[in-house]
């Protein structure tokens, strides 16, 4: 099983620390979302994972080896860090062919990955005329050449239209379902909510959270429960007596925290209180993310 392991990774440019003692793992068979505001150090981390940038401290291994020591890199890791990283004067087929040949991958794989990414009809066209979506597909085609167990994508849906976003999202899911380790970065929580099983959140180069998606939603968002009852004041006292924090909300409802909806229901049954509504309020992922990264957004609005 091939996994990415990042240990104590640090990158400094002069006095500026871009990545600060970062440790996490990317496991096979799931999509790991790599999330953080712009400038958090996601791209730099991904460059260090694939050996484009040298860490100031710490290490990254893929299946136990450094990227530069992989004997045939494309058969182990497919990385798309920048869809624009092609020479627009070259035809799509030739671009992929050169990459395949450099790793001793048979020529027929070029045709196969072009087919899998739906680019067969433009294989003979120069990539300079490609739309952003086509370039993303070409970049993904390149990552698949060696049928690698690990895939790394930096902001793959940036700037895509809804159809392209949907395509890439489904593609990531399919790759993980095939047992591959998939690492995808984004600065949009809503995007990750649709794709990722696991989340690694960073801000200002530091690890903020390393958690499964489910745990983030239930744990991070301080779940509250909305309660509506005719004898509001009485029930509110009973809730407080049971250890909950209660505040009044719109249209004579109560927002209760510290008790689960099941516990509140049981309390109501015990005291014979009538409830007209009992609704757990799931914190949205977006809220959870904002909560997590509040202190680490690079350019924060000045408090008024």
């Amino acid at each position: 099983m091939t996994r990415i392991e990042v240990r104590g990774l640090t990158k400094r440019y002069g006095s500026e620390t871009v990545v600060d003692d970062l440790s996490f793992a990317v496991e096979p068979g799931q999509v790991t979302g790599f999330l953080g505001p712009n400038g958090a150090g996601k791209s730099t981390t991904m460059k260090m994972i694939t050996g484009l940038a040298l860490p100031t401290r710490g290490s990254v291994t893929i299946g136990g080896r450094r990227y530069a020591d992989l004997p045939v890199p494309l058969t182990e890791v497919g990385a798309l860090l920048d869809a624009g990283a092609v020479d627009g004067h070259r035809k799509a087929y030739d671009h992929l062919l050169a990459l395949a040949v450099s790793n001793g991958i048979p020529r027929r794989r070029v045709g196969e990955v072009l087919a899998r990414t739906g680019l067969e009809s433009v294989a003979g066209k120069r990539t300079g005329g490609f739309s952003l979506g086509m370039r993303q597909r070409l970049g993904i085609a390149a990552t698949l050449l060696g049928d690698p167990r690990v895939l790394i994508f930096d902001e793959p849906v940036n700037g895509l239209d809804p159809e392209g976003i949907r395509w890439i999202r489904d593609f990531m899911r399919a790759l993980a379902a095939e047992g591959r380790a998939v690492l995808v970065s984004s600065h949009l929580m809503s995007e990750m909510a649709q794709t990722a099983d696991h989340l690694v959140v960073i801000g200002r180069g530091r690890l903020i959270a390393d958690t499964s998606m489910d745990a983030l939603v239930t744990g991070g968002g301080q779940g509250t429960v909305l309660v509506r009852t005719p004898d509001r004041a009485v029930f509110a006292r009973r809730l407080v007596a049971a250890g909950a924090a209660v505040r009044e909300s719109l249209e004579s409802s109560l927002i209760v925290s510290g008790l689960s909806s099941a516990e509140i229901g049981a309390l109501a049954a015990t005291h014979g209180a009538v409830l007209s509504e009992l609704t757990p309020q799931r914190a949205s992922l977006e809220d959870a993310f904002m909560e997590l990264t509040r202190d680490s957004v690079e350019y924060q609005e000045v408090a008024r």
Partner: protein
């Protein structure tokens, strides 16, 4: 995965952009064009030359004079092999596929040098042949490849061009920008030699090994006592170029992309 794979991939990249072929076409047209014009004008003027000038008449050197421009075109080719990848960002993709940077750069150097040797030799032989045909047509004295000193001059000219291609790839690797590397190449090839006369004696002797400065020595069939021996010149210049390329390797291995 071997050096042969890397070399093959670099060849695919080189042949699959049109700029490679445009550059080579430009090399042939400009190179032979200059030879045609120079040989034609000099051939027509031969009868009016003084006896002293007639004594040092060197039809071989005359026909190879197009190296002056050809070296810039070959330089562009060498520079682009590296800088086009930095300009487009392709270098990231390339290095993800071939993370052994020394191997990658070695493949680029080997390929570019091989292409430059072949193209340089072909151009020099073609320029010589065309130049002699034109001189003959103008009834001026002309040379043939079998004459003493002619073959070394023609082959040496091709090697000189290949060396400049190597210098260009070194500059491209160090500077990572097409414009910067080209400006530096022009400075080295054309501008520094122009200041040669202002320098102290010992530096002027070193400058004889500077690209273009002693170039006339390689292309001449009649040795000039003031210039180093052609092979000494090519060897000395190549040493300097190897140092530039070595610096390129060190920086290429160390820098983040």
């Amino acid at each position: 995965m071997s050096f042969a794979n890397t070399l093959h991939a670099e060849w695919i990249k080189l042949r699959s952009v049109r700029s490679t072929w445009y550059t080579l076409a430009c090399l042939v047209v400009v190179g032979l064009g200059i030879t045609a014009l120079a040989a034609s004008a000099s051939g027509a003027g031969y009868p009016d030359l003084s006896p002293e000038d007639k004594a040092v008449w060197d039809p071989t050197s005359l026909s190879l004079r197009s190296y002056i421009v050809a070296q810039l075109v070959i330089g562009v080719l060498g520079i682009l092999v590296v800088t086009s990848e930095f300009a487009t960002g392709l270098m990231q993709t390339t290095l993800n596929a071939t993370p052994r940077r020394s191997r990658l750069l070695a493949a680029k150097v080997a390929l570019t040098t091989a292409v430059a040797v072949v193209v340089g030799e072909v151009l020099m032989v073609a320029a010589f042949t065309l130049g002699q045909l034109i001189l003959a047509a103008r009834d001026a004295p002309h040379a043939s490849l079998g004459d003493p000193g002619v073959l070394p001059a023609v082959l040496g000219g091709g090697l000189y061009l290949a060396a400049i291609g190597l210098l260009a790839i070194g500059l491209g690797t160090i500077l990572r920008s097409t414009a910067g590397a080209l400006a530096t190449l022009v400075g080295i090839v054309f501008i520094v030699p122009g200041f040669g006369g202002l320098f102290p004696d010992w530096l002027q002797k070193v400058l004889l090994f500077w690209p273009t400065q002693g170039g006339a020595a390689v292309l001449a069939t009649v040795p000039d006592p003031d210039l180093p021996h052609p092979w000494l010149y090519l060897g000395g210049m190549s040493l300097g170029i190897v140092a530039v390329v070595a610096a390129g390797f060190v920086l290429f291995r160390r820098r983040d992309v």
